[in-house]
Symmetry: C2
Subunit: 282 residues, 2 copies
DNA sequence: ACCGACGATACCGCCCAGGTATCGATCCCG
DNA sequence: CGGGATCGATACCTGGGCGGTATCGTCGGT
């Protein structure tokens, strides 16, 4: 199976429309039809049910869509990492580390300092990104290593090492009645009148339905909380970043958050190994 | 990057010889040389250092070898799983479960029974395989789900759920002096005179150097132990399979073994989900 | 019943993968 | 030190397959 065929199939499976898929791929529709037919013949499996009006995925088609996306990701990652390795041999760019913006910043700072002090350390580019985006960056080969937060981020497909665990606090507007409490429980905050939990975008950029304001980043969320329009659960360490009009109260029965450092399996690179060793020794 | 190019590069990188690689690929040498050159040009990176006598990998080349193998595995897995999904839609074969031969057999039996009793259960093919082989089967798409044993098997790249943990025992010939002890420590068995720990083959089939007999499967190992030529650490549950001329003694400070059920991420299949749910409820 | 939308088919041209022949460089051996 | 052997690169040719245009067959909608 060639990656070209896979890309073609994924495009059609996503669009469920040969014409649009062909347009997206920058080719004409007939070659696309033929390529899919050939792929089906070679696999000995019908991937799409097509009438002259609609295209739908068969069971085998959905399997190939999921598996094919993963395979294409792996191929693209191989491409990018190879290019980066070639650059690293000649020029500047060292490691790329992906971290969620506004999370674990002290840990991140300590890690970068400690690694920079190592003999043979290479420059580290830090890519701050939105929630759950690190996973994609790592999978696609745009980053060499990432800081993830269990149980929020999925660590499937990566090697990981635990760095720290912390409990969670609820972040509230300063002066909110609950802020006088020494601690609260989940039940106290799930149904706070007028202070819903926010909605984060899906990996594909869409927002889940439900109440609560839509937010894209931490700064936006903190501002909403300060305005008294939301509250949120956050790892304890976020307290360092709260300013005057926000308050945090420990939530006793919230799940603890584990910060892990994750990297793709197959890392032959000494730099990645050094960084991870440094991280686990912190 | 096309899979054809990747396969070509991996062949050359493994053989470090264009002629042999071309032979292995079933093509002539000149097209292979050209394909590699074109790949290097497109990546903008030298992958191989070649004199007219020797071929060696560059830094970028080793990265592409590791990443490319993984990517090719992913593509092949997509191929196999799609074919299997197509068959499943029409004919017999249901799920394929990979398990280490001779390990966790009671747990496996319980799992299969419990799953078979579920509504909508499909037939399960059990593939018994050598140590550490389940990982490969799962990665290559030859199996849908596997039973792995931490910390021996790597679970990188898979989703996992813990099924059970057990402590380890040392398996000795019946009548060995140590068998009268209620328990032993690691120090007691690492240097047993005349009873070395066996050597298992690497994933590539080679044996690590060192003392100890080379073994390929459990039956062979148990026979060697009965003959007084080896001893081994094993999860407690192996006791059920020991016959008269073998004895087991708990090892207090051996690492505990966790049996986990593992499956590839992206499993859209209801059958896999059902099996896993059944397993975690055991 | 006609028109429009959409996927399939027919046919054509060109690019590129693969083959053969050969070259150039390097190592080995006498 | 020179000749042969080994091995990768180059030159040149051929054919298959990919992509393009034109068109058909089949549905739905009005």
């Amino acid at each position: 199976m060639e990656t070209r065929e896979l890309r073609y199939f994924v495009a059609v499976a996503e669009e469920l429309h040969f014409g649009r898929a062909a347009q997206r791929l920058g080719i004409a529709q007939p070659p696309l039809s033929r390529a899919i037919q050939q792929l089906e013949r070679r696999l000995g499996a019908a991937l799409l049910d097509r009438t002259s009006r609609t295209v739908t995925l068969t069971e085998a088609g959905s399997v190939l869509l999921a598996e094919g996306r993963a395979a294409l990701d792996a191929v693209d990652a191989a491409d990018r990492r190879t290019r980066r390795a070639a650059l690293a041999a000649t020029g500047r760019p060292g490691l790329v580390l992906a971290a969620k913006a506004g999370a674990s910043s002290e840990l991140l700072a300590k890690l970068l300092d400690a690694y920079a002090a190592e003999p043979g350390a290479v420059p580290v580019d830090v890519t701050l990104c939105g929630p759950a985006e690190q996973e994609r960056l790592l999978r696609e080969g745009r980053a060499d290593v990432a800081l993830l937060h269990r149980p929020f981020d999925s660590t499937a497909g990566f090697h990981t090492a635990e760095l720290s665990t912390e409990s969670q606090v609820v972040v509230l507007p300063a002066g909110h009645p609950l802020t006088v409490r020494a601690h609260v429980h989940m039940a106290d905050i799930t149904a706070l009148p007028g202070l819903p939990l926010p909605r984060w975008p899906d990996p594909d950029g869409a927002y889940p339905p439900g109440p609560g304001p839509q937010v894209r980043d931490h700064a936006q969320l903190l501002q909403l909380i300060a305005l008294g329009r939301a509250c949120t659960l956050s790892p304890e360490s976020c307290r360092a970043q709260l300013h005057g009009d926000l308050a945090a109260v420990p939530v006793l029965d919230a799940p603890t958050v584990t910060t892990v450092i994750a990297w793709p399996p197959h890392s032959r690179s000494r730099a990645v190994a050094d960084l991870i060793r440094t991280a686990t020794r912190l």
